[in-house]
Symmetry: D2
Subunit: 382 residues, 4 copies
Amino acid sequence: MKKYLSYGMAGAGLNSFIGAVHRVGAGFDGTAFLKAGCFSRDAERNRECGEFYQLDESRVYASFEEMAVKEGAREDGIDYAVISAPNNEHYRMAKAFLENGIHVLCEKPLCFEISEAEELKKMAEEKGLLFCVNYSYSGNNMVKEARELVKNGLIGSVINVNAEYLQEYLVDDIGKGDQTMNRLSSWRKDPKAAGISNCTGDIGSHIEHTVSYITGLRLKRLAAKLDYFGQPLDLNANMLVEFENGAHGVFSSSQVCVGHMNGLVVRIFGAEGAIEWHEEEPNVLFVTKKGQPMQTYHRGMAYISGRAASMNRLPAGHPEGLYEAFANIYKVWNTAVLKKAAGENLTEDDLDFPSLDDGIQGVKFIHAAVESSKNDAAWVEL
Amino acid sequence: MKKYLSYGMAGAGLNSFIGAVHRVGAGFDGTAFLKAGCFSRDAERNRECGEFYQLDESRVYASFEEMAVKEGAREDGIDYAVISAPNNEHYRMAKAFLENGIHVLCEKPLCFEISEAEELKKMAEEKGLLFCVNYSYSGNNMVKEARELVKNGLIGSVINVNAEYLQEYLVDDIGKGDQTMNRLSSWRKDPKAAGISNCTGDIGSHIEHTVSYITGLRLKRLAAKLDYFGQPLDLNANMLVEFENGAHGVFSSSQVCVGHMNGLVVRIFGAEGAIEWHEEEPNVLFVTKKGQPMQTYHRGMAYISGRAASMNRLPAGHPEGLYEAFANIYKVWNTAVLKKAAGENLTEDDLDFPSLDDGIQGVKFIHAAVESSKNDAAWVEL
Amino acid sequence: MKKYLSYGMAGAGLNSFIGAVHRVGAGFDGTAFLKAGCFSRDAERNRECGEFYQLDESRVYASFEEMAVKEGAREDGIDYAVISAPNNEHYRMAKAFLENGIHVLCEKPLCFEISEAEELKKMAEEKGLLFCVNYSYSGNNMVKEARELVKNGLIGSVINVNAEYLQEYLVDDIGKGDQTMNRLSSWRKDPKAAGISNCTGDIGSHIEHTVSYITGLRLKRLAAKLDYFGQPLDLNANMLVEFENGAHGVFSSSQVCVGHMNGLVVRIFGAEGAIEWHEEEPNVLFVTKKGQPMQTYHRGMAYISGRAASMNRLPAGHPEGLYEAFANIYKVWNTAVLKKAAGENLTEDDLDFPSLDDGIQGVKFIHAAVESSKNDAAWVEL
Amino acid sequence: MKKYLSYGMAGAGLNSFIGAVHRVGAGFDGTAFLKAGCFSRDAERNRECGEFYQLDESRVYASFEEMAVKEGAREDGIDYAVISAPNNEHYRMAKAFLENGIHVLCEKPLCFEISEAEELKKMAEEKGLLFCVNYSYSGNNMVKEARELVKNGLIGSVINVNAEYLQEYLVDDIGKGDQTMNRLSSWRKDPKAAGISNCTGDIGSHIEHTVSYITGLRLKRLAAKLDYFGQPLDLNANMLVEFENGAHGVFSSSQVCVGHMNGLVVRIFGAEGAIEWHEEEPNVLFVTKKGQPMQTYHRGMAYISGRAASMNRLPAGHPEGLYEAFANIYKVWNTAVLKKAAGENLTEDDLDFPSLDDGIQGVKFIHAAVESSKNDAAWVEL
């Protein structure tokens, strides 16, 4: 059985922080190596990036299409492609790699349109290719522990969910209109690159996935109020949500909430207990059984259940962070790709990375939120 | 000028924790003394209570009506009545005391119907009587500081509000139907005594008032989803809210959220900063200016502004709690009653206790939430 | 059996925050009433104070000696005296009241000299009088819970103690020498009024008592380094401590640690578990069993053990603070005085207030710390 | 100028968590690659490890001596060696690499004897070789920020230090004597491998270095009490410390404090302010100026000063952890080695990694603590 993988990168040049996170995350366990890339449309920056990573010149491509075709044709072509480009590129890139028989790990949101998302799913299934949509927070050790505890019934049936993802980094955009496009030059604020939503698409979608991953429940419908503050895309979003089991809750995401850096906080309330996780303190999990004191679970301790324990990298108290969340996504993903290559069957645990179904649900979520808000927070089914 | 006040208590017998809070709170500063009462409909318990408080036997009344009439007629009658009885009694009690020329401090919610609330307001105005609706959290020192900071522009204009009040104490009622009425025998769960709402009326209304007190903004409309879990009244409520200035937000209140004891948390986000207060840690206030580190303000420090500083009772770090919040409400209230008795004009600061307008808004809030939820979270104007 | 008590106050005039705490605390449960006092050596302030409290003029005394004699002689004389004056007054005041057959509740530290402390103990025993030394933090509900849990073996035998009491309020005195005496005019900084120590005597002694109260262990010896920063009395103190069972630990107290308001934090480590309490968050207790997640105990919950539960005043989550700690001290004290008056035997629980033995240990602690520091942190036995 | 480095590993086989941390940390920025190693004395495990890392077979060595000699002789030999083996190996390994002209990055504590430490320093200086002693916590972004703020005078002169490093993981060893050696088979508990101290050497030494790094102050003397609980080496240590500027403080380190996972907490108090950092929440720093509210600094924000900002890897709120602390140590180290290779002069910033002087001080610290404790906590100069 093959022991090492090679992958190619679409997007994520040297100046992109997330590029480093992918590179370090993919290679964390010493099993996957960057061998090809199309990092930038700027030829010089593309070349510099390939050179820095010591790639074979012939494998630094001018376009992702070329990369897909040539790598797909090489005997020693990349095992998978990592897509870390603005949202508007995801669909075309993913399609190109799938068409050329290359597994895909793609940043979220998966793509603009639900139909595109479903098309990608169909393609991957027909080609027998693996596809991961990188909702990276589900890689966190204690998010896995939360999922396990909920699955094991510790909190009983879910009755209420209160989740939020608050940031302040765009608060200066309030009332500034298009001027801000130049100032920060972030593609996330540009409808052409980001699609129909900024805040909801970028961070609200992480709430949706993390909650779904922990609870095993899909959203049934939502009623959302998005705030634009004079910008083309939303900067703030509050919504009522209803899950498939009838439970209600609220999701709040914002890029204008002063005092919050990257405040993804998920609180799941069940009839028997509750669970709470904070992305900024990812190594602990707050677990309470009805009528009992709150317990602070620490990653790495002997009481942590099997799935999370198997992802543990450091002794308790030595903080793991975002890189390790990525590394865990890649740990499962790399193993799955290796097993696939060896013709092995993949178990449920082998597929414990965000799927195309998760990606499709994410696109539906964004569309529902924007549509609901246009209709003054009328309920919209997902 | 008169220096001491006497008051009478309607409700709040010896076994009622809130009775002690009122008694201690009213007398905290040594200026108001309990002199009359109708503590219980049970004659024996009523008598025992009066005896314990060493009241004159003739001033322990069999009914609040009798108390209102007789105290109103006495030369040395009570200066004000404190109403701390189940909700369904508030209106009739308040009316009786006002009719007999007695100032009223009444627990919230003020009454069942908006029309009743407006009638009380009209009566109080016509009689020239003072009326406080006891939204006690607004007595907290750091809530006053928050109000002051917002008023002084520290956070700029309010753009988003995220507030919650979570408790777990009724989680066992889920799916138990009427059986629970006997078990806990709480009047709050009985529509006859509590009115149309349990959770929203009891604690959701505190969110509404505290936010309004801090921001100076009234709610314009809301879209609410209440959960009943088989009970006659709501146990859980999530809602989208819109303020008079157009800002949005979410309010969540619950009596079934495991792990939360009395979790009133108010977060106000403005275009220039943010402010956050937790009832369970009432002595601190989290204040952040845009782009700056979060600051933890401590009650009692020299940087605390005038209004809050004037309410300070203990050096910084020595915790004040719920009793002191009540004591602050009473400090302002007692002073106002004394000034009124002396024929002085009352300034805005003198009237810094929750008013009948606050009480009316509270009744509107409860009605709007219940109506909205009946209509599947349609917007309802207050 | 007598149901109500009257007491007199020595010290603690209107401008003293601690006076209000005593008055509210003593009367919290409606059983004890201020009936006499010698509040100030300034005749006018003394009179004003008595008038404000509506005392009988004849019971507002020019000197504590007069109060002791006259109240001791009255048929309806005070049941007990509360001593809340500068440290240098404690011994003479306590002696005077005991001599006149009056029970005494005295602020800590008990007095200057160990011999005085032992004399007071002998007097109280001979006269059959009760004496409470007001280490008020031991009145906190969760401190009582901590003591109960330790007694019940939850943490096993104590192996290490880490406790501190940090404040910043005198940081401006550093290097200012005697100038600061006028500026803040605090008697705590004046050796004549405060004795041989400021920081260690005022707050270090609270560490000593709180730890002893929770663990049931006395200090055997200590090695201390006190810092004076140019002042006549210590502002900062670090010490190694050894308990009678051989366990070690550190105590740190300071009035110059910026960022700390009233940071009494006690952490007791045993071979089976640990317990941690913070005075600024007094309603919770952090409890951990070996190998298990930390648990956050909340005052007022059903799992709280009997002794602490019996002192509970508010539902869980509604914060109690310093006033309630005092109220709990007084609750036990008042009951003990009433039982004593009725000729009843007092049980261990009846005597659950800080005793003269605690007071003596406190004086020894202060002497040991100062002596050790003079000898460059040599060990000194208590 | 050379752009990439190769290094060799002495120790840290596949089953060692710290091995992965070094490998990921060294390669985080894509500039250093593992090319040689002697991972284990067990030939098979050594071979497996080399194979897994895809090393050239000829560069997987049976002994570190062979590795030192052969790599030193190769044209393309390793640029530096990483020593991550039990303490008793450090000195001989370091010496061997230095002798063969190879730069060394060595785990702490540097070695057993002060004379050995000084010998290594002399060798490195004579050979013109770089040497880093891996006090990894000094790589944390916010530790660098703390150092910067102290250097810039934000807290004034240091007047008191309170620092601790508490763990619970050896609490089961209490009173178990030598039995525990087999059970956990940790070399840290074995005097042959660990030296004269377990707890003080392993974690107490991190307190010493982190405090020194942040304050720029060396310890002058200490008075320590170590607890052994029947074990050959210490499990718990409390000490009074005195710095070269006369400031005092306490250091507590423990492996038997239940409820603490990896609790390194450093609090530095100055005459103008204070600074506090927690290893388990490494992305924030608590900063207070005298008389002002505490401020919570977040890594990645614009107000973070230059040195820390230059080490930033992720946007604020996205947690960095222990791997990134290592990566920062390696970032500076790798750059220094590259500059050295290019013959450039190294600035102070270029040498911002723990030095041989730090390593020597660490060895002195351990010796002083053990000696002091043997003499019943007598002061020992460093």
